[in-house]
Symmetry: C2
Subunit: 466 residues, 2 copies
């Protein structure tokens, strides 16, 4: 649906690129993608958007229109000629899409010349930050919804075409389907839907509206019962139509509630349906749902089978953004660092690898360790900031998380389907102990740095202080 | 950049459409677009996205790929044939883009057959809700920034391609430019940018980095001074380069701060620049800015000339969504209503007009009145919910806000430029008294309904209660 050209970037990337180009400074470099703060005050995040950004990077070009436009912005003909042939030809190592990830540790690492690495920064951050945010939100909702059906209904309140990817990311995080047709089309996502209040309103009689809908859409028929009065009008009419469907050998799939006290109403509706012999008719509910409301409904044993989640999912409420950054760690054959007043904002130099640590029984111990890329096994991990906190991990199993996904601008594996990614994510999340998944004061996952990485970082800080 | 096809919608729109199609229920209808709650606890909103949605609607089609996809979803061949020729041929009356708007009153009104009106609902809400949110956020930032330069730097943290439109909407709300190249290209928006920390880091020496940049990009040169140490390294190096530029007859445009205490640092930097005879060099600042931080910086007389605003602008933090809805008010020659337990959520029936009220001196009195479309002048407006609050407006000037913008699917005016829209918005906002613009407990703008509209609404409620 999108024609992303390479001008989907910030102007300064191009300004810097021209300097690199003219000054023969276009050296090989390494950039790390990572975030500093977990969203939603949660204990983990679900990495999403990787397969998408790889596809985007494979096709990224400046169009003729782009070049014409840039001519008006003080770029030199020689450099614009270079941009005409621009391709991303770099190498990317990354955590797999759907993996459970934590702050500080690089999730993805770009190795390319400075020009290519800078030009892709904006679209890479834009894609990964947003999809990781939404997959994480979806995962939190899945955690409290058990095996209930979760549907994304958010497109109308999404941040413009952000909604297109919100649906994709929601599936990575564990949703079952969406009302969003175009994303369903493009990613083979299950699409579903009910009816709007306007449908019922457009008829003079709610019963006739339900009847017409059921006759015309007998498979997957869901009747919206709250346009006028849920218990006195919507439900009796829905039951009448369900019985008529039975007489035709059809089954009403569900009724839907979109207002009022969903715990109370779902229980009343369940009783009415059961009393009418319609125990197979499901109850769908929507209206400002999020993980907290669903948790409350689940705790109250509300007999809701299908949750339709809209705004709060697709905009990643309340955070709205993941603070992911893209930082230079190596260039021109030297490790690079960004100094800050706060040690927690000093970047980690060098090309690195991230290891997930398991105990003798193969259980996660709740720790990732960051080492230099040429270290093969780490002896110890240090808290990145607190000086006296460290952990000996020499005897523990260490699994490398960053793996090659793109070489010389070409992905080195077939594009994964959303289903594959979602299944992988589910399986990885199952390995994470529950304490990291709770909403209130979740357990803090440890992320540390190796002896050598710490030495290198501290050496470079000292160097810059002089 | 986008290929919006008509499947950019919720599945239920198509399910309902097939019923209308088969049951010969495809009557003419009127839908109202409005919102219930002002964003950001503010006193007003800036309507944005209109010119965009009109362009989208003019071109909206189902592609062959769409039709093939829908074949798998239980739609009938006859209906799919109809969709092949689908065009939006309706009529739209709307408030002008950039206008100051308030809750409850229709901002835009669609008259079309039910099928066309439903299929466009999702993309219309998606476009208008988001752009109105961001234009409003931008306007709040403009209100505190006075005549300082405001730049959008948000693309990397935007909600995916939502960032594309966030930049457009930010300009409607009063921003001066953006770092976002692709939106700049498509909407003739001023683009600008500085340099990243990575640029400075990629050099062994900050001074050489600055020097190379200044030589290569002498126009609009902005140096980022906080990579290592703002006052001890970045500023002295920037001053050296500024002096070198002077010797070549060039001028350093600005230095940029991206961390630390911006009030303190900007004052120190100003002193250093002035002491070096560089009083023309501006100071740009960024880092988690929003209207509150900028207000505080302005109150502290921080000598900042250019504010770069990112995440908080482009995601409309903290709200993230405008609660705009699209409600049926007339169909099949009858007024339509949606009942709710809460009177504030009962919809207003009939085709309507909205009037802005002015006193004898031509000043806004802070009130909009909603009447039936065939009322030409209103005598009184009632509070829509509170039973005894009303205001006589018979002698006051009343200006109709809803005007035809699209007829039979074609816009009836040339597409307006962002500059035109932004200028109009600025002028309209200037008419609104300051009390509605303050952040804390802003004055509440009155929106009321006419005698006849109230009668009609109450009659329909009574009818449905029986």
């Amino acid at each position: 649906m999108f024609q992303f050209t390479a001008t989907y970037t910030d102007l300064y990337q191009l300004s810097m690129a021209q300097v690199y180009f003219n000054k023969n400074q276009n050296q090989q470099a390494v950039f790390d993608y990572f975030f500093r703060k977990l969203p939603f005050k949660g204990g983990y995040a679900i990495f999403a958007g990787l397969e998408e950004i790889l596809s985007i990077l494979e096709d990224l070009r400046f169009s003729e229109e782009d070049i014409e436009y840039l001519k008006q912005h003080d770029f030199e003909p020689k450099f614009l000629n270079y941009l005409k042939d621009f391709r991303f030809r770099g190498t990317i190592n990354s955590v797999a899409e759907g993996e459970v990830v934590f702050p500080t540790a690089p999730i993805l690492q770009v190795e390319a010349n400075l020009i290519e690495a800078q030009i892709i920064e904006t679209i890479l951050l834009n894609t990964l930050n947003f999809q990781t945010l939404i997959a994480t939100k979806a995962s939190r909702i899945r955690n409290v919804a058990g095996d209930k059906t979760l549907l994304d209904f958010g497109l109308r309140r999404a941040q413009g075409p952000g909604g297109y990817y919100a649906t994709r990311a929601a599936m990575v995080g564990g949703f079952n389907g969406s009302s969003n047709v175009i994303t369903g089309r493009d990613y083979n996502i299950s699409i579903s839907g009910t009816m709007a209040h306007a449908f019922v309103q457009s008829y003079d009689d709610e019963l006739v509206a339900f009847r017409d809908f059921a006759e015309n859409r007998p498979k997957n028929c869901v009747l919206l019962v709250d346009t006028y009065n849920t218990l006195k009008s919507g439900m009796p009419n829905a039951i009448t139509v369900a019985k008529e469907m039975e007489s035709r050998g059809q089954k009403l799939l569900a009724i839907r509630l979109d207002s009022g006290d969903l715990a109370y109403l779902s229980k009343q509706c369940r009783k009415m349906l059961d009393a009418a012999g319609l125990d197979y008719v499901k109850i769908a509910a929507s209206n400002q749902l999020d993980e907290y409301v669903i948790q409350s409904l689940q705790n109250q044993n509300a007999p809701i089978d299908i949750y339709g989640v809209g705004t709060n999912l697709v905009i990643g409420k309340p955070d709205g953004a993941l603070d992911g950054v893209y930082k230079l760690s190596f260039a021109n054959n030297k490790p690079r660092i960004k100094i800050s007043e706060s040690i927690s904002k000093v970047t980690l130099p060098h090309k690195k690898q991230v290891y997930r640590i398991f105990n003798e029984d193969g259980q996660q111990i709740g720790a990732d360790a960051i080492g230099l890329a040429d270290e093969w096994h780490l002896n110890r991990m240090h808290h990145p900031v607190e000086p006296f906190k460290n952990l000996v991990i020499a005897t523990l199993k260490q699994e490398a998380l960053l793996k090659p996904v793109m070489q010389n601008g070409k992905r080195n594996h077939p594009k994964k389907s959303i289903e594959e990614i979602a299944n992988f994510s589910k399986q990885q999340l199952a390995l994470l102990p529950d304490e990291y998944k709770r909403f209130d004061n979740p357990h803090i996952y440890k992320v540390g740095i190796s002896d050598r990485l710490k030495e290198e970082r501290d050496r470079l800080i000292a160097e810059h202080k002089n």
